[in-house]
């Protein structure tokens, strides 16, 4: 069954900007899909609004449309490009939903476009709860018994039939308000009553509770010949109840016998066959730990986050195979790229254990509810591969970059066992650490099992780790013991502490003992066949499988898990660095532990080391590969933070040196350097105590911008307006980052500008300048940014270029540099210098056509910019205007304030491009998922200081067809200015208040600048959260509001050309 004959041109739908629940895994799957299509000579068209991805690089597809992922744009592209087929199954839920929408309205049929990989019926059967339930019942596959009730009596009847525990889910309430799990008669009655009264239609769904069941996932693939295979099964350490994206997941499943496994495998295969999916599919099941009873929980009829994980866990490229199947191949015709002489139609077998831990944004969002449940909250994940479970677990822990190198529960000294036991009854990001601490204190694992329902197998393994801890003493240097510790994943850094020495000293002693890791290959087949794929992981075993080929090699450090502030942009740069090294004929080696990304696709580099990006693991790779040097500048702060240690260990840092990096990051040196260069910067200093902060603040004057040194994404960056706020901040910072000075700057209000440049030590080439739409005060990652700049004079631009050149040269930058400026009173001040690849590199590379990371990599490897054809100065500006829009995941994070400020909150970015600024803006908003209204009601809740400034804006909004809603003061001002306004009560001041209007859908847009800050009881906060929960657009910056107005205006006055 060869390729379908009629396919010459295929449109691939991407997944768009990164949000919680839909992240870099779709860059990985999309990139694979495009490559798989092109191999077969198919012309590829891509639509994806996410500029930060590898898949939107222009060489990845024949045509890349960086346009909004909406039905409107997909249709336009289909009409314009006339593809033979559309492939939507690699673009996450976004891709699938778009396909569903267009299929339903008959668009594909009309345009004679084939839908590949899935059909309308399948999507509906898999995604519609009721249809899915009916299909399962028809197949004899168990689903949790459920019913819809409108009265307590009906509820009681169902309870009599099924028995407790039961889950009560009120209909149409957000976040399941009023619902819960009932385990007693009393609870049941109470919750049903509360559920019914909370539901606007007095209706509840009552479902058998399967909390505590094992959660098992199957990643399966089917082809049109009906061949089916299981790529991988996975077991969640957290039992049913926690979203699989928020669960610690192990592959393969550990606590199931073959009989259990085959039962669930049979069920999964029956389901994919019944759904007739040609491609990948994920089936989630719940298995009773005490019987054979199981339930089908959910089916995803597409490639998913779990399939990316399964691909990395097994080496089996699911997205690639799914794509080949979609274009007509059978699995027994597709070669397994790992072995190169066996076929894709087989089931991978592992000879190691894989463990994934999610990376949550709670370090950024202190106020967020950390309880894990059915709504995913993680932004990223890490994976650890080990020959033991313990190794996989501890590797993952140290790779999370949460400043922990072991199962240590922070701040637990003052907590009693009872308190800790109470805490672990709720799943949170800290639970694994808390239960470890309890085991350490001697609490029986059976008790912990009773509370958490975590399988005793996992708890026993954690107990093994704790037991080994107790055997550690500074005098115990028995080689077998040290080896055992390392085989069980203990980090050098943790052990060094226990052995009372530095990590370097410990490492040296360990190596003298001969305790050195070997590297094993991930080969899909447990060594049954020879593997040709250099995909390695470390283990303290006998045989090292890495064979040197004698080629000169370079090691690139990856950026670890995706988190706010360090997103897929850094993976993008890492991949480009790898490609550049390969282009130079050198062996490109990468170390990274993020299973979602393109950089950990074994096809990208010449050698992939899937290990944590920590000093220990990086050094192990260096010892093994002996590269000519290490490139740290593309792996974000993760990699930059290792420069010092690596440099001290005598490792050759390729690119900007450790000393130059320090020059940019060490406040005092930095200030001095800029002074010498006669480049202006906001007045500032660094302070190390509350008292010092107070006294220095008098010199600088409020408002002040405060941040800890050496952090990313503006973490803990804050603007303070008085001594009280300053004191509070200092106390917090001294506690969280003891011993680290706090940077204190005069907060200047002005236009923010970013310059990214490449330097080889002499020549400084600037691809372009980006201007922020929002004034300073909003983190650069959360700002709209435009290229080329729209408001800067030639003089200022010249200034910026000169300063950039001076800084890059004098700092001896080799590679990339990112400088943030603030323009005030026609003068440019330097805010910060990042001697590394920045978040803007992929965006700017795409809009300027300069492959920045590649050029920079080559520069670090001795190929001067002149040699590469770049001279000092700025590249001529492009005609097309490109705007980057931030994308947020607030709806996933309960309790997080959406007001923008100096600390970054966005999870992704989207882009809009067009010939005019307004059109580009309009597309940028749409790409970011902001489906702005063209008319309607605006709730205006603005701070007094902003009122004057807002009036002209509101007048123009009114011209477009908007009226206003405001509380007394503002309402008065608006009506005085002849603007139509309805007055509404402040929160809690009347029977009806403005929150009711938001909830009832009377408001289409909110402009809100009041009471920003940490106070969650403030009105501003309540309005912002109500906006998120009711899906109303809420602007917290006047500048963004102006931009939105322009977008609305251009939409009102014409249509948008593609």
């Amino acid at each position: 069954m060869p390729k379908k004959q009629n396919l010459n041109k295929v449109l691939v739908i991407g997944s768009g900007p990164i949000v919680i629940g839909q992240a870099a895994e779709f860059d990985y799957s999309g990139t694979q899909a495009l490559a798989a299509l092109r191999e077969d000579g198919i012309e590829t068209i891509l639509i994806n609004s996410n500029p930060a991805t590898i898949m939107t690089d222009k060489e990845m597809a024949d045509k890349v449309y960086l346009e909004p992922l909406s039905a409107e744009f997909v249709k336009k592209i289909i009409i314009k490009e006339k593809p033979d087929a559309v492939l939507p199954t690699l673009g996450g839920q976004t891709g699938l939903n778009l396909a569903l929408e267009l299929a339903r309205e008959g668009f594909f049929k009309r345009e004679k476009v084939e839908l590949l990989g899935v059909n309308l019926e399948t999507i509906e059967k898999a995604e519609d709860r009721e249809q899915f339930k009916q299909l399962m019942l028809k197949m004899g596959q168990p689903v949790p018994e459920s019913t819809t009730i409108n009265t307590l009596k009906e509820a009681m009847e169902f309870k009599e039939k099924i028995g407790l525990p039961l889950i009560i889910r009120p209909a149409f309430t957000l976040g399941g308000t009023g619902g819960g799990i009932a385990t007693t008669e009393q609870e049941f009655e109470t919750i049903v009553n509360s559920g019914l009264s909370n539901s606007p239609i007095t209706q509840c769904l009552i479902e058998k509770s399967i909390a505590g069941y094992k959660e098992i996932e199957y990643e399966i693939i089917r082809d049109a010949k009906d061949n089916c295979i299981v790529v991988c099964n996975m077991e969640n350490l957290d039992p049913v109840g926690v979203h699989t994206g928020d669960s610690i997941v192990v592959a393969p499943a550990q606590t199931m016998s073959d009989r259990d496994h085959q039962m669930l495998r049979d069920a999964s295969l029956a389901i994919i066959r019944a759904l007739k999916i040609d491609g990948g599919c994920n089936v989630q099941l719940a298995l009773d730990p005490h019987s054979y009873q199981y339930y089908v929980i959910e089916v995803n009829p597409r490639v998913s986050r779990s399939s990316a994980l399964a691909s990395k866990a097994t080496g089996y490229p699911i997205a690639r195979v799914a794509t080949k199947i979609a274009i007509g191949y059978a699995m027994d015709e597709i070669i397994n790229p790992i072995t190169q002489n066996t076929y894709a139609c087989f089931e991978p077998t592992l000879d190691y254990c894989v463990l994934k831990i999610p990376r949550w944004p709670f370090d950024k969002f202190h106020a967020a509810d950390r309880t894990l449940g059915t709504q995913m909250k993680a932004t990223g994940e890490v994976m650890g591969i080990g020959r033991t479970f313990e190794d996989a677990l501890l590797k993952s822990v140290r790779g999370l970059e949460i400043k922990r190198y072991h199962l240590i529960c922070e701040n637990s000294d003052n907590l009693s066992n009872e308190e800790l036991l109470a805490r672990i009854s709720k799943p949170t990001d800290e639970r694994i650490f808390e239960l470890s601490e309890l085991i350490r204190r001697g609490v029986n694992i059976h008790d912990i099992h009773q509370i958490t329902k975590i399988d005793l197998w996992f708890l026993t393994k954690i107990q093994n780790i704790i037991e080994l801890e107790t055997q550690i003493s500074p005098s115990n240097w028995d080689k077998d013991f040290i080896l055992t510790l390392k085989q069980n994943g203990f980090a050098d850094r943790y052990l060094a502490e226990k052995y009372q020495m530095t990590e370097m000293e410990f490492r040296k002693k360990r190596m003298e003992l001969g305790v050195i890791p070997a590297f094993k290959i991930v080969d899909t087949c447990a060594a049954e066949f020879e593997s040709h794929t250099p995909y390695y992981y470390s283990s303290y075993e006998d045989e090292n499988e890495v064979r040197s080929d004698g080629k000169e090699s370079v090691l690139v450090l990856g950026s670890g898990p995706i988190r706010i502030g360090q997103g897929v942009e850094f993976d993008y740069a890492t991949v480009h660095a790898i490609k550049a090294i390969k282009e130079l004929g050198k062996k490109a080696i990468v170390i990274n532990n993020n299973p979602e990304t393109v950089s950990t696709d074994f096809n990208i580099s010449d050698a992939l080391y899937f290990d944590a990006v920590t000093f220990e693991d990086v050094m192990n790779v260096i010892d093994n590969e002996k590269p000519i040097g290490v490139i740290c500048q593309f792996g974000g702060q993760t990699a930059i933070n290792l420069i010092d240690q690596l440099s001290n260990a005598g490792i050759n840092i390729l690119g900007t040196s450790a000393d130059s990096t320090d020059l940019a990051e060490n406040r005092n040196r930095f200030e001095k350097a800029l002074k010498e260069l006669e480049i202006a910067q906001p007045l500032g200093t660094n302070v190390s105590s509350v008292e010092e902060a107070i006294s220095k603040s008098a010199e600088l004057g409020f408002p002040l911008m405060l941040r800890p040194s050496y952090v990313i994404g503006g973490q803990a960056m804050e603007i303070v307006y008085d001594n009280e706020e300053l004191k509070e901040y200092m106390k917090f910072a001294m506690n969280v980052w003891p011993g680290q000075p706090v940077l204190m700057d005069r907060y200047m209000i002005g236009v923010e500008v970013e310059v990214d440049a490449i330097c080889d030590g002499e020549t400084v080439f600037i691809p372009g300048i980006m201007e922020h739409i929002e004034r300073s005060g909003v983190h650069s990652g959360d700002s709209f940014a435009v290229y080329p700049p729209q408001t800067l004079s030639d003089e200022i631009k010249k200034d910026l270029i000169e300063s950039t050149v001076k800084i890059a040269q004098s700092f001896q930058i080799k590679g990339l540099i990112n400088i943030q400026f603030i323009i005030k009173n026609k003068k440019a001040y330097v805010l910060e210098v990042n001697p590394r690849s920045s978040r803007t590199v992929p965006f700017l590379s795409k809009v300027t056509g300069v492959p920045m990371a590649k050029v920079a990599t080559k520069a670090t490897l001795g190929h001067s910019l002149l040699e590469q054809g770049y001279k000092t100065g700025i590249q001529e500006e492009q005609k097309i205007i490109s705007i980057k829009a931030p994308v947020f995941s607030f709806s996933k994070l309960k309790d997080v304030d959406t007001a923008l400020g100096p600390e970054m909150k966005s999870t992704g970015e989207a882009m809009g491009r067009d010939l005019s600024f307004q059109k580009a803006l309009s597309k940028a908003f749409k790409s970011a998922g902001i489906n702005f209204p063209h008319f309607g009601t605006i709730l205006v809740t603005i701070a007094d200081k902003h009122k004057e400034e807002t009036l002209p804006m509101l007048k123009r909004f009114h011209e477009c067809g908007f009226k206003f809603l405001a509380t007394h003061g503002t309402a008065k001002l608006l009506s005085e200015n002849n603007l139509p306004v309805d007055e509404v009560a402040k929160i809690g001041m009347a029977q009806r208040d403005l929150l009711d209007d938001i909830k009832e859908g009377n408001v289409q847009l909110i402009i809100n600048t009041i009471t920003k800050g940490k106070n969650v009881t403030s009105d501003g906060y309540k309005i912002r959260r109500a906006a998120v929960e009711n899906g109303v657009i809420c602007m917290t910056s006047l500048d963004t509001s102006w931009a939105l107005l322009e977008a609305i205006e251009i939409n009102a006055s014409g249509t948008i050309a593609l």
């Binding site: 009989r259 005490h290 077998t349």
Partner: protein
């Protein structure tokens, strides 16, 4: 759990040290060493009589996780010599677990060792083929090793594992199957019983006349250990059976069926053992994931001048996985449709067998 040091010596000169978790005999154990790639199903593997006299290396590193239960054994006693795993788990966690793997091995006098680089071991076997190995609980001198390696490996395993007596598993009105026992796995019997068959299990060397006395409607030749050529005496019986009865053969049965029809068998470099082997059915143009355990196979080149036809091949190495007779109602598969452990994808072959019994009319 005892933590006695164990020493593993391979014929090619490689040596390993490990820890014991099973039986620790005084004298060294000489056996053939093979690997199995199943991630689950160790209980079925170690109780499969086809592993008679062999030492098994499990490639999956964590073994023992769900203990040993009462239901999943493929025979009452295990016949293997030793089990080698990366890490043995002494805290089984599964609702069916009745004892630990260590206890099971110890009670059955089977050697078990762990804390060893099983991937290295697997790679050695893959590169050099299955070979002799010595397991010892004290270090052996060069001459002791040489002496042992000079010895031949035990052969003729089938007589050791076959049933000594005929046993009948009656069913009311079901089709009667004679299951010829070369070392059958329990799930072959159960697969027949589950489909309502009336099964008579007979020793591997039962005569044609004796089998005829049972008036079967179908014959099933079972799996079994070792070299099919060690029991050439059964070939005339098979030749007669296939002419008279519907005959289905599995694994060892498949190889004997081939030999009985003039084809030849050969030893494979390291065999197929695991639950993930793709088999392509050439007639249906479908590929199934199968459970496999064999060290010998039917020689591809030997089929040409026989009345046999190749119906299925291994997708990976193209070895013969299925045969059928051109003139008789006789066919065979090299793999294990009864699974246990492994995928149930080819269970349907038992349905086919039963359906055919319903169709075939005897004189």
């Amino acid at each position: 759990m005892n933590e006695i040091n164990a020493f593993l010596y391979l014929e090619d000169g490689n040596e390993f040290t490990a820890k014991s978790f099973g039986h620790t005999p005084d004298s060294p154990v000489l056996s053939e060493i093979v690997f199995n790639t199943s991630m689950q199903g160790y209980q079925e593997v170690i109780t499969d009589p086809s592993y008679c006299d062999q030492t098994i290396v499990m490639t999956y590193p964590l073994i023992g996780n769900y203990g040993i239960n009462q239901d999943d054994s493929e025979a009452i006693t295990p016949h293997l010599k030793a089990l080698i795993v990366r890490e043995y788990c002494d805290h089984p966690s599964n609702f069916r677990a009745r004892q630990s793997l260590a206890d099971f091995l110890t009670n059955n006098n089977i050697v078990g060792i762990h804390q060893i680089d099983t991937r290295k071991l697997t790679r050695l076997i893959r590169e050099k083929g299955t070979m002799k190995s010595i397991l010892s609980f004290k270090q052996l001198s060069e001459s002791e090793k040489a002496e042992l390696f000079k010895q031949d490996l035990p052969t003729n395993q089938i007589p050791k594992v076959t049933t000594s007596a005929i046993s009948h598993f009656p069913s009311n009105g079901g089709k009667r199957v004679v299951l010829v026992d070369f070392g059958y796995k329990k799930n072959i019997l159960e697969s027949l019983l589950k489909r309502g068959c009336d099964v008579i299990v007979v020793p591997y060397n039962t005569s044609f006349e004796k089998i005829k006395e049972f008036s079967p409607q179908g014959i099933l030749l079972s799996n079994g250990p070792g070299d099919p050529k060690s029991i050439l005496e059964v070939l005339p019986t098979i030749q007669k059976l296939q002419q008279e009865y519907l005959l289905f053969a599995i694994c060892m049965g498949h190889q004997i069926f081939a030999l009985a029809n003039g084809a030849d068998t050969e030893k494979m470099k390291f065999g197929h053992r695991g639950g993930n082997h793709p088999v392509k059915d050439l007639i249906l143009d479908r590929t199934y994931i199968t459970s496999q355990n064999h060290g010998y196979c039917v020689k591809d080149s030997s089929i040409a001048n026989t009345e046999l036809e190749v119906t299925q091949i291994n997708l990976n190495d193209k070895t013969i996985e299925g045969l059928k007779h051109k003139n008789y109602q006789a066919y065979s598969v090299q793999y294990h449709p009864e699974a246990s452990p492994g995928p149930n994808d080819t269970n349907y072959l038992f349905d086919v067998f039963v359906d055919r019994m319903n169709e075939v009319h005897h004189a």
